[in-house]
C-alpha cells in the first residue's frame, strides 16, 4: 500500500495519481461521481424486482415462476394461435378450391407454394432431397418422368395414400426378384440387362438382345409393355427414357432385375389436413417439369424398335463398363 502522503500529485490538475503508469501515462485518482453509485444501487434494486416478477431461480423440480407468470413457451404458443387465425382465410380457401383453381390463382398459388415449401422441407426432403431432386431409389420430383403420374390429381393421390404404405388404397407395384427367386438364371439376367439397355436407345450386345427378346415378352411385357414404355396404372416405369430410379449402368440394371426392389412412401392422409396436402401437391407440381409421358411414348417407341431391330453400329460396341 502506498502511503497517501507519499502519493504523487499531478502538477497540471492538482489531483493525486493512483501510482499506476503505462508508458508515461499516469492514472489520476479522481473520485467517482455520486450518481454513478446511485445507478449501481438502482441496478441492485432492479434485479430484486426482476426476481420477484420474472422467472429467475432454478429449483430441484422446477423454477420460480415470478408474479407475472412470464413464459416464452406460452408466448410462442399464443403467437402460433394468432398465426392460425391470420392464415385462416387462405387455409379455408385451400380446403374448398380445386387443385387447378389453386394453381391458376396467383395469390392462392403463392400461399400454397409457401405452405408446400415448408411442409416439403420438414417431411419430404429427407428422401426426395431439399429441392426435390431425388436420389438413387427415391424419385426425382423435378423432372418430367413419373411412376404414378405427374398431374395435379395424381400427385395429390400419391401423397394421400402413399406407396406400399399400409393405407387401404395404397399404391403398390410389384416387380419380382427374377434372379433371387430363380425365375431367371444368371446368364438370362445378363441377357435381359442388355435388352433393357437397348430399350433405352443405347448400344448393346446384339446376340444377348436377341436371346432376351422372348424372355422379355414372357416375363416383363405384362407390366412394362411390349415396347418397354411402362404402365402408369401399375406404377411400372418407362424403360425407354433417360430416367433410372436405381441407376442406368448395367450393374444397377442387373441388380434391379435380380432383386426387384421397390420403395416405400408413407401415407400422409390424416397426418396433414386436406388443405396442406393440396398445397404440397401444387408445390410439387409447380416445381416439376410436367409429365412427358403421353408424347414421349411414340417417340421413344420408335427409337426402341430401331434398337431392338439391332442396327449394325449398336451391336459391335463394347459394354460401357
Amino acid at each position: 500500500m502506498t502511503n497517501t502522503s507519499e502519493r504523487e500529485r499531478d502538477d497540471h490538475t492538482g489531483v493525486e495519481t493512483t501510482g499506476h503508469e503505462w508508458d508515461g501515462i499516469k492514472e489520476l485518482d479522481n473520485p467517482l461521481p455520486r450518481w454513478w453509485l446511485w445507478v449501481f444501487y438502482g441496478s441492485i434494486a432492479f434485479s430484486l424486482v426482476y426476481w420477484i416478477l420474472m422467472p429467475a431461480w432454478p429449483g430441484i423440480n422446477g423454477y420460480t415462476h415470478g408474479l407475472l407468470n412470464e413464459s416464452d413457451r406460452a408466448n410462442v404458443a399464443q403467437e402460433l394461435r394468432a398465426l392460425q387465425v391470420q392464415r385462416g382465410a387462405n387455409e379455408a380457401e385451400l380446403q374448398t378450391a380445386s387443385l387447378q383453381q389453386i394453381e391458376a390463382d396467383p395469390e392462392l398459388q403463392a400461399h400454397a407454394m409457401a405452405v408446400g415449401a415448408s411442409v416439403f422441407g420438414d417431411n419430404c426432403a429427407t428422401c426426395h432431397g431439399a429441392g426435390g431432386g431425388g436420389a438413387k431409389g427415391y424419385p426425382n420430383l423435378r423432372d418430367d418422368v413419373w411412376l404414378w403420374g405427374g398431374s395435379l390429381d395424381e400427385i395429390e393421390h400419391t401423397i394421400r395414400v402413399g406407396i406400399r404404405s399400409g393405407h387401404a388404397q395404397t399404391r403398390t407395384s410389384q416387380m419380382p426378384a427374377f434372379g433371387r427367386d430363380g425365375m431367371l438364371d444368371q446368364k438370362q439376367v445378363a441377357d435381359m440387362t442388355e435388352y433393357v439397355v437397348a430399350l433405352s436407345g443405347r448400344q448393346a450386345d446384339r446376340a444377348a438382345v436377341g436371346r432376351a427378346a422372348q424372355l422379355y415378352a414372357d416375363n416383363c411385357a405384362a407390366c412394362h409393355g411390349a415396347t418397354g414404355t411402362g404402365d402408369r396404372a401399375q406404377g411400372a416405369p418407362d424403360l425407354t427414357d433417360r430416367e433410372w430410379l436405381y441407376g442406368s449402368d448395367r450393374e444397377s440394371i442387373a441388380a434391379q432385375i435380380h432383386n426387384g426392389r421397390g420403395g416405400v412412401m408413407p401415407t400422409w392422409e390424416g397426418r396433414f389436413s386436406p388443405g396442406v396436402i393440396k398445397a404440397l401437391a401444387v408445390y410439387v407440381h409447380a416445381n416439376s417439369a410436367g409429365d412427358s409421358h403421353p408424347t414421349a411414348v411414340a417417340v421413344a417407341a420408335a427409337a426402341t424398335a430401331q434398337a431392338v431391330a439391332a442396327p449394325a453400329a449398336a451391336v459391335e460396341a463394347a459394354p460401357t463398363r
Binding site: T13, P106, N287, A289, S292
Partner: protein
C-alpha cells in the same frame, strides 16, 4: 496545440480569494468525502446578447421542427400512410415525403449518418463544437429546463438563496411548480417522439384511451424519464461523463480552429477596476466573474480551452456586456483561434487559415460521400430483381436429355402501382423460359403487385448439350420494367457432361 484540461475534479484551492460565497459553500459541500463526489451545483445566470439570441432562435426552430414534423400530411395511394415522415416498423418502410425506403436500402440511412459525421468533423475543425453548443438535444432541452427553472425560482442569485433557505411554503410551491412543468415538458418530448413511428392523428386518440401499441407507451415512458433526469438533474454531467464527443474533439481541433477563447493577451494581468482609474499597465479583464456565472458547464473560460466547454458563446455575451459598461472594446472573450491569440501576444500579424490539410480532408470526404449518395439515389430503381439459382438440385435432366435449371426471381416493386416485368434469358442455345401456370417461351411477362417483394419460380430448359459440353455456363437474365432495365448475370448448369 490545444491543451485540454480535465476539470472533472473539484478545483484545487487557489488564490481566488474574496468573501466565501454561497457558491463556494456549495462547492465545499460537494468535496469528496471518500470515494464518491456529489455534483457541484451550477446556477447559470441569464444573459442577453447576440449568441444568446441565436440560441433562443435555434431552440424555437428545432423544437418546432421536432413537434410539427409528424403532423405534416403527404398523400399516398391506397392503404399507404399519409404521413410525410414516418418510420413504419410494422410495415418495414421508411417514408420521407416523396421518398420511400425499404429495409434493403438502409445503406442510404448509413450514408446519411456518415455524411452527418463528416459534417460534424468539418464544422468542429473549423468552428469548434458548434453542435454541442447550439444543436445537441441535451443542450436544447437543458436550456429549456433552465428557462422553466428561472420562471419559478428566479435568476442565479435567487435560486442559490432558495436552495440554501429552509423549507417554506414559498420554496415548496416553487419547487413543485418547477418539477410539474419539467415533467410536462418531458412527457411532451416522449409523447412527440412516438408520432414518428405511427400515424399521428390515430395514435393521439388510441394513446389516450389505452389502445395504443405497447411500444408507444414504453418509448414515451423511457423518453419522459430520460428527458426529466438528463435535462433536469444530470445536465452538464451528461456531456462531461457520458458523451464521448468531448473526448473525441481533441482529434479534430487544432490551433486554427475557432473556439470560444479568452484573449489572455488582452485580458492579463486581470484585476478589479475602479471607475475613473486608467487602463495602463493592466489587462482588460476586470475579474467580474460574469463569464463564470453564466456558464452552463460551470467552468472558467479564462483557464483556456477545456473538455467541458460546449462552445455556446454565453460567456462572450456576458463579457461583451461588461466591456460595454466599463467602456472597453468588445471581444475580450470571442470565437477566435489559439494561433491568433498567440500571434497577438507576440506581436506577429494574425492569420486565419480556414483551408488547411485537415479541413481539406474533411471537405473532400464530405463531397465524395455526398456525391456517392446522390449518384446512388439517382440510380435507384423502383423495380429491383434478384435471381437466386436453385442450389439443390442445381440441374435436372428430363426424359429426352434436355436440361432444366430452376431459379427464384425476387421482384421488389417499390412503385405504388402494379408493374409489368418482362424477363428474358440468354445463355445456352435454344433455352426456353417457363414459370408455374405459364406456358414456356422466349420471354416471360410477370405482373407484380405494388409495394412488395414477389417471389416467382422460373425454369429454364435447354436441349441436350452437344458431346463434351457440361457444367455451368454463363447466362444472363434481362429484366425490363417500363423504362428501367437490368441485367442479372447468372449461370446455367448442364450438369455432368459424362453422364
Amino acid at each position: 496545440m490545444t491543451t485540454l484540461i480535465d476539470r472533472t475534479k473539484p478545483k484545487p484551492p487557489s488564490g481566488e480569494a474574496g468573501a466565501v460565497s454561497i457558491a463556494e459553500q456549495q462547492r465545499e459541500k460537494a468535496k469528496p468525502k471518500g470515494l464518491y463526489q456529489a455534483r457541484v451545483p451550477i446556477y447559470p445566470k441569464l444573459v442577453h446578447g447576440r449568441w444568446r439570441w441565436i440560441k433562443w432562435a435555434l431552440l424555437i426552430a428545432m423544437l418546432a421542427i421536432y413537434y410539427i414534423t409528424p403532423w405534416i400530411r403527404w398523400d399516398r395511394p391506397g392503404d399507404l400512410p399519409d404521413q410525410a415522415v414516418l418510420v413504419d416498423f410494422a410495415g418495414r418502410r421508411f417514408y420521407f415525403f416523396w421518398i420511400q425506403l425499404w429495409p434493403q436500402e438502409v445503406y442510404f440511412i448509413t450514408g446519411l449518418l456518415v455524411l452527418a459525421a463528416l459534417a460534424l468533423f468539418l464544422t468542429t475543425a473549423l468552428f469548434g463544437r458548434l453542435w454541442c453548443g447550439y444543436a445537441c438535444p441535451q443542450t436544447v432541452w437543458t436550456d429549456l429546463y433552465i428557462y422553466v427553472e428561472r420562471m419559478f425560482e428566479g435568476d442565479r442569485n435567487a435560486r442559490m438563496r432558495l436552495d440554501a433557505a429552509p423549507w417554506s411554503f414559498n420554496k415548496l410551491w416553487r419547487k413543485v411548480g418547477k418539477h410539474a412543468v419539467w415533467l410536462g415538458v418531458a412527457f411532451g418530448t416522449g409523447g412527440a417522439w412516438i408520432f414518428y413511428f405511427h400515424d399521428a392523428p390515430t395514435l393521439i386518440r388510441t394513446f389516450w384511451v389505452g389502445t395504443g401499441p405497447m411500444t408507444a407507451y414504453i418509448s414515451c415512458a423511457i423518453l419522459t424519464f430520460t428527458t426529466y433526469v438528463f435535462a433536469g438533474y444530470m445536465r452538464e454531467q451528461v456531456c462531461t461523463y457520458m458523451c464521448p464527443w468531448p473526448r473525441i474533439q481533441g482529434a479534430m481541433l487544432d490551433d486554427q480552429s475557432f473556439q470560444v477563447t479568452y484573449r489572455y493577451d488582452r485580458g492579463e494581468p486581470r484585476g478589479p477596476h475602479k471607475k475613473g482609474t486608467g487602463w495602463e499597465g493592466r489587462g482588460d479583464c476586470i475579474d467580474c466573474n460574469q463569464c463564470v456565472v453564466v456558464c452552463p458547464m460551470g467552468i472558467d473560460i479564462r483557464n483556456g480551452a477545456q473538455m467541458e466547454c460546449i462552445n455556446c458563446g454565453l460567456c462572450i455575451d456576458a463579457c461583451d456586456a461588461m466591456m460595454d459598461k466599463v467602456g472597453r472594446p468588445r471581444g475580450l472573450i470571442a470565437y477566435d483561434t489559439d494561433a491568433a491569440v498567440a500571434a497577438r501576444a507576440s506581436g506577429r500579424p494574425v492569420k486565419h487559415e480556414l483551408v488547411r490539410p485537415r479541413t481539406l480532408y474533411y471537405a473532400v470526404a464530405l463531397v465524395v460521400v455526398a456525391g456517392l449518395m446522390l449518384w446512388g439515389f439517382s440510380q435507384r430503381t423502383l423495380i429491383g430483381v434478384h435471381a437466386l439459382r436453385d442450389r439443390n438440385p442445381t440441374y435436372v435432366v428430363l426424359h429426352d436429355g434436355s436440361v432444366r435449371n430452376g431459379y427464384t426471381l425476387k421482384i421488389a416493386n417499390r412503385n405504388f402501382d402494379d408493374a409489368q416485368v418482362k424477363v428474358r434469358f440468354s445463355g445456352p442455345e435454344g433455352a426456353v423460359l417457363s414459370s408455374p401456370g405459364r406456358t414456356a417461351g422466349q420471354t416471360l411477362i410477370l405482373n407484380v403487385k405494388p409495394n412488395q417483394v414477389t417471389p416467382v419460380r422460373v425454369f429454364v430448359t435447354a436441349p441436350e448439350p452437344a458431346e463434351g459440353v457440361g457444367g455451368p455456363q454463363q447466362a444472363v437474365f434481362d429484366i425490363t420494367a417500363g423504362r428501367e432495365h437490368e441485367t442479372l448475370p447468372t449461370a446455367f448448369d448442364y450438369g455432368d457432361a459424362t453422364r
